[in-house]
Amino acid sequence: MQVGLTQILFLSTALFFIGVYGFLTRRNMITMLMAVELMLNAVNINFIAFNKYLWGGKLDGVFFTIFIIAIAAAEAAVAIAIVINIYRNFGSIDAEDADSLKL
């Protein structure tokens, strides 16, 4: 079977829902961040595949991917600064433990 857009979309959908599963089951903030990175990667694969197979002459998908990678880097840096701060204040990075804003 010739590999085309459908196979690549299968891969990216599977990767996205693996990320969703990880985000829902994990309670550790760093592992939740890792699950979010998996989802962002699935989205990037989609953009690149559509750009390659359907919009050959244009570069829109490539630029979306480049900007998503840049924003993901900024997001990871800020998230990890916050996580380390939470660790200093609460002594744990479990999402259930950081509950001082709860009523």
Binding site: R27, T31, E37, K52, A73, A77, I80, A81
Partner: protein
Amino acid sequence: MAVSNIIFYLLSALIIACGIMSVTSRQIFRSAIYLLFCMMGVAGLYFWMQYEFIAAVQIVVYVGGIVVLIIFSIFLTHRVGSDLAEPEYKRTLFAGLASLFAFLLFWSVIKRNEFFGEQPSGELSVRRIGEEMLNYKQGGFVLPFEVVSILLLAAMIGCIVIAMRAQTEKN
């Protein structure tokens, strides 16, 4: 079966297997290493699609930047070798079912849809990416480029502020 198809299926197997191991492993350090291999697999997929520049960016930013940052933060916040807590059985069950059914729904939609005019385009020159990125005419990308650069600056300053406040409180 052509060699290129075999390479694609090997890369997909690597990505899916490492992704599943990354979200299910009970040791957080192993989880990060599986994430690293998953990112390498995605970079390999970009190489397979002949988008070498994106693959290089993926390796430099994700593998060399984000995963290393995550590993450093694991070293700062965990005792290496200790296992993560087992998630509740109910939560695992329902999260698994929700992801599985959502995947099947999306997959049935993709399977039913025909993509017209599907043909792979050739490779992409870095020169063209650079020219488009600084193109300020119709269809150029200079505005998002500038917005992202300001966002990166803001994120950098934000990280420094968050880290500094913690230190002054300590003293």
